[in-house]
Symmetry: C2
Subunit: 437 residues, 2 copies
Amino acid sequence: MIAANDPSLRSFVPVPEGSDFPIQNLPFGVFRRADSPAPRIGARIGDHVLDLLEIEAAGLFDGPELRGRDLLRGPSLNAFLAARRPAWREARQTLSLLLRDTEEALRDNQALRARALLPASSVEMCLPAQVGDYTDFYSSREHATNVGVMFRGPDNALMPNWLHMPIAYHGRSSSLVVSGTPVRRPCGQTKADTAPAPSFGASRLLDFELEVGFLTGPGNELGRPIPAAEAEDHIFGLLLVNDWSARDIQKWEYQPLGPFLGKNFATSVSPWVVTLDALEPFRCAGPIQDPEPLEYLHTPGAHGFDIQLEALLAPAGGRNEERLTLTNFKYLYWNMAQQLAHHTVNGCNTRPGDLVASGTISGPTRESRGSMLELCWGGKEPIRLSNGEERTFLRDGDRLTIRGWCQGAGYRIGFGEVTGVVMPALETSQLTAEPRS
Amino acid sequence: MIAANDPSLRSFVPVPEGSDFPIQNLPFGVFRRADSPAPRIGARIGDHVLDLLEIEAAGLFDGPELRGRDLLRGPSLNAFLAARRPAWREARQTLSLLLRDTEEALRDNQALRARALLPASSVEMCLPAQVGDYTDFYSSREHATNVGVMFRGPDNALMPNWLHMPIAYHGRSSSLVVSGTPVRRPCGQTKADTAPAPSFGASRLLDFELEVGFLTGPGNELGRPIPAAEAEDHIFGLLLVNDWSARDIQKWEYQPLGPFLGKNFATSVSPWVVTLDALEPFRCAGPIQDPEPLEYLHTPGAHGFDIQLEALLAPAGGRNEERLTLTNFKYLYWNMAQQLAHHTVNGCNTRPGDLVASGTISGPTRESRGSMLELCWGGKEPIRLSNGEERTFLRDGDRLTIRGWCQGAGYRIGFGEVTGVVMPALETSQLTAEPRS
């Protein structure tokens, strides 16, 4: 049998040149059809979505791991995530076979094709999982260093713990939104260094953070850590994350308990989850770790992934988007297996569908920094846009888009995008007159 | 009609002298019957649990807010929390009527009583809600000051932001456990001040934190803050929280992003949720706030509650528990309405069943401090137990219990307890051999 990652595979479904979604990818997501309100699970190929409820109903998930288990009916990926890699792999292999140009089962079944293959533009994408807990790491050495230099000077840029463990904090699950959802500029307390007291108003320092996250499954019991050597068995797939941040709110609130209102007003994710199996050809070594981590963080072998990542800005009122940064997932100092081993080493349990994000991914050059804070060095070095405007942080009406892809020989394994437009803050008067429904 | 809070009310169900659960209380919880695995909603009275699925099935929730809505069938409180205060109030008023010694409907229906009134000792309590997000505040000035003095000295005890806003961080939902669940001592990285590098092992500084939390409902839309004046409409009821903390892990990890593995190995909650309506007679003023908070945090009127709180230790191998601390919910500087207004002022959404905890509640005296860290002043002032032992932090086998109650004239509105015993840490060898299920 030809493996699902084989570059020579072709589908009978047309895949445009340079598409993020060739038959070698087959990411999973959750969508709503125009004719049915209940969310369903889909797989993406080219410009089409394959409705997996229809594939399930047609009895085509007939392998030993999936048959009769109803794992792919929706309304979220959670039940599928609770299964283990053999089920994940069988689902992808089944879809890879069904969609090949050499296979008749779907290709020649016009009625099923009509029901199951939908133009991507005709469906509404949803959050791929019901996320129980969202954890955000801080695993880019370049990002932590940049922020540290700005806040504490070059001599104390990295905290003493940073090179010994993957630092993280708990984020907010309720405000996770899918790509395309507009993001309202938050209000809150801020305090200028020279002001005697804080004041209330709309954040003036709204930023994006370019991140990549993974969805977990099947989960571990409370009190039973996931060893680093088994951690990748708990990683279903990856997606793009924009951890919107209000730097002025964050700066005033974050000591001593960390980010709260500066982050939890919205976190956007891309809708298609690219499986770890699809990313396997792009596995690569991570940075050398010195000092050597403690034993529970040992991960011999290659645990980085060569995923190119860019952030683009379409300024308010303009049509063209321009690239702000080009960076790469492989720059991350702490890999995903180390993140998950650390997260659970105290017995903390994970559940199917937890979201674990990387933290802002910055590279070694100015052009590869993953946030406005770093790109503009705290506002001191504005970016000049091609329309003549400058930016240090995001303005109302700006659209920020993150894209990611792995470049193979003649094909790419892409993530699509996570995008969102900035809406103006609520007027203060609206803050005291919540409509009652 | 006699109000549900009237002290003269009596139930036909016997209520022992001094019980936490007289007819004036009627807290809600979720339990499993011995003869049925699906969790159900119950109300507590004396030493009995009233099975609300049976009351619902008997058609006794027949008021305009509840009739036909199936809000009290379980398997969690979430659907009931999603309803608003009129539904919450009608449910409590209906139960208050049904349980009065003057009312025949349940009193004289022996078959229904046999089905619906269960000895509390015969049921297994569950988490009362499926908690979407768990937020932990830091709202006790005495606690923040004590910790600040220990960590940064008396001149910098409170951070500059503390008197201007209720500080909080996001906790972990997955590791919330119900009272009675044993808690395993976590392993992790720690570093002595004098050591050149961190080491791995079991936490040696395991602590409790005495807290009170509330469950939210019905929730607010993303982008639409809850004004302080309406915040109490979003508070269903209160419960006890023990935010177990590993101080040595916390100390090494917490900068700059706050607590993570030092907290997320377990958080215990009491099973019975005492409604805000039942607590109404114990409403009282909170501390004077100076400087005056910003307008969005204005809460004229009384927003404290006079709830006595104690923590007790039953040392390993001993039978007797002894009180470590006696404190009070009314000491909290920031009230719950301010917490919720602040939490959502940036547009952050809440959902039915979010858990919002107070942070450690310490009072003005040494005897009212809410954690071992403060009681023993960072280990420098050990507690002497009546069995001759000393404690600075918790030992394996120690049982820690938190209780809370409001004292009325001739009755008390109690919370029951949240208790847990400390289990020894896993051996390091167990950390690398997770059983696969």
